[in-house]
């Protein structure tokens, strides 16, 4: 079956800096895929590449290709890509304020999406808007629709942005750290609502997050990025039970868990390298406790491992 979103060995540069190196990732219909990694690992860049938005930030694809529902995005016209983004891909950003127009009422901003992309008349669009707001568990949807963005809390605003992403009946939603700016109790609820809505409608979701807890809670598969390369990809159940890549297991070990003994939290030594000074061989080697001479010189190629892929010379070996 053709994947809904298929990134095949995609490399991306901004100016002369190579930032993504041969990333492969697929999202199937009805699937929730998590994309994790520390800041600077290339999560947002991967999302921009998937939406054909790299030119906005001065970036370009230098290798591989991005296909949406079998179509190569590089071969589409700008207009085709724009229609694709509004109609078939919904986007949820980290900061809801950048996605909302401060001088337009909430309801109108959601209405316009289904008027534009589904060709609904205003009255039908409003019915749809109210229905969406209710499904997002917004109390008193009718009066929220009449409100201005500044009158709503951060969590409420983010739900409106999710409603806008859903309003065009897309096949895929890309959500980039959709809850980072929100309070913990609100975060948990929004993740849960988003996950449930996507499942109920059989949509696909690419969820970018730095939170392994969120991935474990809602995702089917997860892709772990490190310094612009894919470290590991596979089913969530396998990866959390037995991470094959040392970076994945170290990331999971960074989360303080209930009953953890004092002194057992260690973190990962060192820091993510800068794009201008990438270490040779495996980019994780200066921080990796399994690193060998091979790792310091030869880039590990992605290899299949169970139902996933892992790029490590010593995958799965417990040091």
């Amino acid at each position: 079956m053709t994947a809904l979103l298929d990134l095949a060995s995609v490399s991306v540069s901004i100016g002369s800096a190579p930032l993504l190196d041969s990333i492969s990732l697929r999202v199937d219909r009805g699937q929730i895929v998590g994309l994790v990694g520390e800041s600077g690992s290339g999560k947002s860049l991967t999302a921009m590449a998937a939406m054909g938005l790299l030119p906005l930030i001065g970036g370009r694809v230098t290798g591989g290709n991005v296909r949406f529902d079998g179509q190569d995005m590089a071969l589409m016209t700008d207009t085709q890509r724009r229609v694709l983004r509004g109609r078939r891909i919904g986007f949820v950003t980290q900061n809801p304020m950048t996605a909302l127009d401060p001088v337009q009422r909430i309801g109108e901003q959601v209405d316009v999406v289904s008027r534009l992309h589904l060709g609904l008349p205003q009255a039908a669009a409003r019915v749809r808007t109210l229905d969406l707001l209710t499904q997002l568990r917004i109390p008193d949807a009718a009066s929220v629709a009449e409100a201005w963005p500044h009158q709503l809390s951060g969590g409420m605003k983010q739900r409106i942005v999710i409603a806008m992403a859903l309003a065009g009946e897309p096949d895929l939603i890309i959500a980039d750290e959709p809850t980072t700016a929100l309070d913990v109790t609100v975060q948990a609820q929004i993740i849960q609502i988003l996950g449930a809505l996507v499942r109920d409608r059989g949509l696909a979701l690419l969820l970018i997050t730095h939170d392994m807890g969120v991935v474990a809670q809602v995702c089917d598969r997860v892709a772990v990025l490190y310094a612009g390369r894919l470290a590991e990809e596979g089913p969530v159940s396998d990866i959390f039970a037995a991470p094959a890549h040392p970076y994945t297991s170290a990331l999971i070990g960074c989360i303080p868990q209930d009953g953890m003994a004092q002194g057992s939290l260690r973190g990962i030594p060192g820091a993510v390298p800068s794009a201008l000074a990438m270490p040779p061989g495996c980019r994780f080697h200066p921080r990796c406790e399994r690193a060998s001479d091979l790792c310091r010189t030869v880039v590990p190629a992605p290899e299949s491992c169970g139902q996933g892929t892992v790029a490590c010379h010593h995958a799965g070996v417990i040091a």
Binding site: E38, S39, R137, P139, S153, M156, D183, V184, T185, Q187, A188, Q189, I191, Q192, H210, D211, M212, G213, V214, V215, A216, Q217, V218, V236, S237, F240, A250, L251, I252, G253, C254, I255, P256, Q257, D258, G259, M260, Q262, G263, L265, R266, G267, I268, P269, A271, V272
Partner: protein, 315 residues
Amino acid sequence: MTAPLIRIEHLTRQFQSGGGFLSRPRSMLAVRDVSLGIARGEAVGVVGESGCGKSTLARLVLRLIEPTSGRVSFDGTDLATLSATALRRMRRRMAMVFQDPYSSLDPRHTLTQVLAEPFQVQRQPLPPGTIAALLAEVGLPEGLADSHPQQLSGGQRQRVGIARALALRPDFLVLDEPTASLDVSIQAQIIALLADLRGRLGLTCLFISHDLGLVRYFCDRIVVMYLGAVVEVLPDPAAAPRHPYTHALMDARFAPDPAQRKRLAPLSGEIPSPFALPAGCAFAARCPHATDLCRRESPRLSDDPAHPVACFHPL
């Protein structure tokens, strides 16, 4: 029982906002009647969501701002009774690590200057070898002594912030979200360093965070705040929550284990504005257990010294 190192009694701080042309100033209580003792060597955590008054409490405790009412005593001395000179001298014994290692370090200074500054402020001589020892203590190479903060990574900068706080060998350390701006891998490094230093130097700590998981890992006792007030004090990190808000905070944490997926009981209502707190319990609008009593009267923190909770219907 020995007297606590820090004694906080009925601490309250009001803030005004607005009050420009045509608008009346509005006032709110950022910290409402907080009382708490911290024993020598103890690490007390403060958790709660954004705006609940955690940072205001921290600044009040170090007397970086004045309380509207109530008091703070350090080692038996009421800080309000001290002259400016005496307060400065007392400050040697207390230090703070800030959330943002970017804005809390002067970019024009070298690390040597940053770490020498506390000695200058306290008009104390800088013992030879101190800078190198401080850098080593927080795991930074001595070679960085002449660098400037902006040449460092976020994690290294926070190590400098910790070294500066420890320079005068304080008894009491306030940590205000010390890892909130860092990646998880670096956060875990910093927490490990702090836990190690705390043990070695016998520090008394007030650890502020919105992350209950971190607080439970680092602290002996946990204070939960909601809209300026203490709603519960967990006597140990493993204690089961009795306040519905604490319960919601715990429920909101997703374990990194797909076998432990859960369905959350949704919190319905909105967080009320601190400028217009409702009558009754401040959590009532979001609480699944709220009754008419909760909406009418405000629950007080129980006197139960083992596990204080401010709720009419504790779990």
